[in-house]
Symmetry: D3
């Protein structure tokens, strides 16, 4: 797929003539079934990519109507059509729509235009994750981590870490987890009060409930189980089941569960218990530290050229200074 | 056991001579092992009943030392000894200590002096509870309630509902649960949006985690599992296991679990999820209503004669007017 | 008036030709007097119904200018004209405007298109309200309720209960009050600490100040007295005057006033005092319970077909699960 | 009455012999009826003055029992007796108790030892208050102020302005009100948006509800009407009645009532409405300013010799620097 | 420059024909460099005045491209061109752009159309400011004030006092400071605990850090030093340097610095310390009072004709009643 | 000095006879000048060590009166005397008092009984601190750190890090700073967005203002400058001066100052600015992490033998589980 696929920005460009034919790949952001005044059903569709969004109206007597309805919100579709202008806004008139399979999304070239990706190769992040898991010395703890990952499967590698706060993009959960594990690796020798195997297992598993909480890996959205239980309880349940199966001793099981239940740090942020073991305190603090630094990293990555400060970052309650420190000038 | 057993107030009475022999039944509130300056260990003990507390120091060469240490905090003990005055405070010197069995505590005459009890007979409350459970029409839901109760056993009948806020006394959990069930029984026909069987099962089970969270039925105190998991997650786990065993369908299991997870009403009050089903909203509101009315009932029950207002009640953020409404005077 | 009156959605329909003549009934949502660059005054008007809004510009030399200005915001008007398109937005050009009288609004068929209505027939709700009032045993309390209702008159039957939170629609105040009275009727025997006549009178009168606080029954808006005094003080004043006239004894007057002053539950939610009598605590809790369940009922009523969850509800801080519990499948 | 009346500090002095006879004037701070173990009633009494408190136990067969019970909490009593030591604490044994009349309390020499007084002569403060009232130009507003003062009478001159925050002492309400009026007098020309007569009347009346809210002028305590209604609503009611009687026009009545209802500044501090007129905003800000400066003045007045900082002041959330600015040294 | 320069409202007027030539003076509110789909750079510009905003697109091959880019955001420009309609929105096509110098902005006739101005003549406010500075009796304090003003120079006379809350317009900082000084002048005799010279110097300097915090006098925006240090620390630093230079004694330096550090009143509002001297408490309270009254004054000034209430004012959390008190009608 | 110096616990021991002579070393916790009823001044003194406190009254005609007054609060004194019992409490009667010099306190054996000490040798912590300072690559940054340390001198090595929250003991500031530097050392490679030299310098200097904020190294207490300026501004000022002297370039100076100003994390916790550079975000998060882990370490160190949980820790809002994880039992 060539780089030159037009983006929504290209389609909406101020100097673009209406009626121009195009073919590209877009994300289905929103699909709203409506009824026209003559009683005919139609779909009001919003497509998007990293550059923005563009709308289309598809009547039920049009060939793409069924294809689009079947694709559903969150699908990635190959679309063909013409640009269109109605009531002063540029939209698109579709002639063909076909859905891309999840397998096609493994190709970064396909999704890079559509959604944000972490700067590190997800395959290498996944390799690191596995190394951290294998590095856990305690056999039953190690087995517990493996069993949870088997249970949730592939989705852990692609899920975002949040709907909008930090690491809120495809593979963000894997990236955040590995970053935390790297921090824990170097901090644990400094805080020997925390059992290193428990702390590492806790970090690797702390957010696994999010693979159930969020539906979709491109457009993160809380699903039914996310709303009714929340990722803390969902993760706790995953860990509990795996620990039982791995025959982890009751004390470690309880302490590991406690890490999951308390990692959000404050009850009002969703913790089910306040951290009350050395491991749990350490994990919740590393989580907070990497979440904040993740916001910093993302703001720097997305910094518009020439801007001195980012917009105010929600999680920092401040804009971020985007310019790097000047190298030392010897003569000053 | 005669009514005339002396209370701690009697023992500390302003006009009581020191050195008076006595025999009574008291609660062991606090036991602190200390070491005298000569290196000998001793126990600093605080005994209590509804009238207050009184202290005693027991050295390790005294016959009651072992009996007291074995009894432990929270035990109910039959004590004999003499009143004592040391450094201006009245205390007791013990000559005999023996522990009462939990079975002895079933006799209200024994515990009525020691701790607060609900005004309704616990046996009748328990009968009502069982009737509400039997009244659940859906067989697997009914079985789920039964299985949780079998799992936690006797302790549900005696546990307090809180450490200090509402229904914070022996049998308080049973009383609060039955009061909520009564309210639900009459409110459910008015709010048909809430499934009555789910709502009733949710009420009967919502606080069962407290039987694990609190240790002791006379002196409520959060134990290890209470601190590390909290009663919301403990109750959720009890319900989950029972529902599985009762072969409750997945949707009802999820909705029942959601009632448990959300009944605290607000994340900062300990809810793991915000109520998002009609049943869960109704149960959390009935919980709140009965908790507040329970504080009102307790304040009225314990009202000092002649006082117009209670002390400021923590949960109401106000003192309570204690005087009943005057009957209508026809001539006014 | 036929069902087929076009709605604003029909007028704005994507496939509707401009310049189409129409006649319908709409609500005047906003009227802003402006001045054109040639110095001529004109009105920028926004009309609305349940389906949305549509705009019109009326110059002062047009015959409908005066009629519209006289109608004012919040009026219901019969309008005739043609659809119009200006700068890419569909609007309307008016040829006739006439105001409907409040009496015409009693016909549900007229207002049902314009604004949300409660599902129960307002006439039956009003009948229930009167029955609850007549059921108050204490003669002077009963007379107090009657006198307040006489004082505020018809408007109580049509006022909304809020500007946007719960029961925020025509007749919503009546509906919320009757729902609370039904709940109180069944709860009062369970909480005999609360005087039933006082509690019922308190419920029937608690929000009567809103009939003064809000101006308009179709578009709820806080008026001058609402802003300067608030419905709590306005209701307190209504009750005080009526109680004096009904020769209610001073103690009941004080306790009834206290219910009005404290029913909002928290100072920051507008309570002038914290509830400090059994009746006041019970009324404020029933108010809260029915407000929350009213949000649940409204969300279920307005659920878009096929949606699993509602939008996040402001008062619940959660989306609501919209699907009913599946009936039990015997074979599971 | 000589200066040499012993204070509670003198009675409790470390080097004072027990059994010393004394006669002095004290405040009855607390009276708790109790029952001895022999069934006889007795009173546990706490007496106080500015220097501290001292306790006494009076049995019902003692001649002063009835006199003390009749005096009640908050009374000022002339007492005679002997110092006493019981269980290591110094107390008093009473032989005579007689109550001082409210008239006797007008003599500052009597109350100066008992409670804190404002530094300005209350008679002069009262004179100033009357001058401010007479200075109101609008006749009906002036009459309204006069009528409220007639209604509440003498108590306005002696009431404290708070139970513990600012101006929390005898005559504190008068002092705070006059200080605010002085500030308003000089600020009103700078803020001509606020109607000066309304603002001044609002200031003079804003806290008059406290004369009903608090019981006692020496030991401020919220009474029944204070708890059930609060000083804001009580003051609003006083003003409403007086304005009606003075035939104040409806607009000024509404604006004056609004000043009373909103002067607390924030709903959570007890305001029934947020300030929404220029006068109301100005009055609430002057109230806040003088309350804070009143805390400063009191802390400076009560500064222990040689201390650089006061204790942390509750209303400032900081300790206060107590040392005055050094005069300029010309040579520096 | 004639009054008749067209405003953005005139340019966007509903009845204005497209393609109309015009010449006027506007503010450059936002300049966003973009790239067209053909690869050519262009500027998306938003111009504004008090009446609103209007947009323009300028391609890089157009003569005004460079002039506009050089002008930058916040510049005031004389523009010529024609109105334009694109996709249903009115915009402008520019033919000439030239920047006005800061000196030209001294003429109120030029900026009055562009931005809000205080009602008092800035020259007279500046005169008053200098008089207050000269009125400080203590020579070194007076010199400190003078030195800070010399340091920050002209910008103090034109800076706004805030980005959006109170006095958020050109000259607003000078106006707010002088209004506070006037209030302090009359209040200081009433609160002799506060050293008048320190308090006055503190008021004159309290917000001088804002001259560094905000960039631009027409479009206030926090700049780099404002974000990284905040006006409190920036002002503290200005004062510290000036006091050192003026040889102010250490105690007054410390107390003056403390006024600057604490004037925001609460830590969460940006205070670096809580006010702990009489002067600091007084200054922070006068700051709060004048900020609130400044919002009142501005809302009254900008009141739309015929409106009874303003929109809800952010700082008051209420709408403001806009109608003045009716003069007394003698016959009522 | 022998281990066998009696502690306050020994002096107050339940079985200790009064009048026993003793000699020991104690801390003067509180000295209150009072006046006896005969007009004679006396000192009420409270002495303390890690085991508790004990009181003494010293009259002005006693030889130790002057020595004690001169010593002042916070001094360490060698005392001789006898135990004493007065009003049921054990105290001491002093015969000799002499002050220990600060130099004597360098001997851990002297202070170990009096106050808590960090578990690591302060000399080694100091060595580490210097190594971290020397490890800063940028010469002017390194010089800035050195200059601040020269300015504040010895006190940095002994100051506590807080009055009661975390590392609140002698040498606690040094310990907390070195622990943070160790964490930064290993985390910086993981977060290359943060300039390592700036971050390290920021950590070494972030709390240096506390050496001025707190008076005393044994009894931490906020002094005059601490109250009037706060450690954030005091540290900022120290850094600013040193950076100027070290000729640090303006950008690094600004970024280093920003780390100091923002490290408290939230405005309400005392930050003067919100962290807005990568270094500042990282430093504030490491500060928070080590503060929490410091509370964990201290609670474990001070764990009473046999206790499963600590008291609720203020900074964690939870009790801490004190038992270590059990080693793996191979046979399970």
């Amino acid at each position: 797929m060539p780089d030159s696929l037009p983006t929504t920005r290209d389609l909406r460009a101020a100097d673009a003539p209406a009626g121009r034919p195009f073919a590209t790949v877009l994300l289905v952001r929103k699909l709203t079934p409506k009824t026209a005044s003559n009683g005919n059903p139609f779909l009001s569709a919003e497509f998007g990519d990293r550059a923005g969004t563009i709308s289309s109206t598809v009547f039920n007597d049009h060939p793409v109507f069924e294809a689009l309805r079947a694709a559903g919100e969150g699908a990635v579709v190959r679309v063909e059509g013409k640009t269109d202008a109605y009531q002063g806004r540029v939209g698109i008139k579709l002639s063909r729509v076909s859905v891309l399979a999840e397998a096609d999304l493994a190709d970064p070239a396909v999704v890079a235009n559509l959604v944000e990706l972490p700067p590190e190769d997800p395959a290498l992040l996944w390799k690191d994750f596995q190394d951290f898991a294998e590095g856990i010395g305690h056999p039953e703890l190690r087995a517990t981590v493996r069993l949870v990952l088997e249970e949730i499967g592939e989705v852990f590698r692609t899920a975002p870490a949040a709907t909008f706060m930090h690491h809120a993009y495809r593979h963000g959960l894997l990236e955040h987890t590995v970053h935390m594990a790297r921090a824990a690796k170097v901090l644990l020798p400094l805080y020997p009060e925390a059992d290193p195997d428990l702390a590492m297992a806790g970090i690797l598993l702390h957010d696994t409930g999010k693979t159930i909480e969020y539906e979709g890996t491109l457009v993160a959205k809380r699903g039914r189980r996310g709303i009714l239980q929340g990722h803390v309880v969902l993760g706790y349940q995953l860990v509990r089941k795996a620990a039982l199966k791995a025959r982890l001793d009751p004390e470690r099981t309880e302490r590991l569960e406690h890490i999951i239940l308390s990692h959000q740090g404050q009850l009002e942020w969703g913790a089910a218990a306040m951290a009350a073991t050395p491991e749990a305190v350490l994990v919740s603090m590393i989580d907070n530290l990497d979440a904040k630094m993740g916001m910093v990293q993302r703001a720097l990555r997305n910094a518009p050229a020439g801007e001195e400060f980012s917009e105010k970052l929600l999680g920092l309650d401040a804009p971020l200074l985007l310019t790097p420190v000047q190298p030392r000038l010897p003569g000053i």
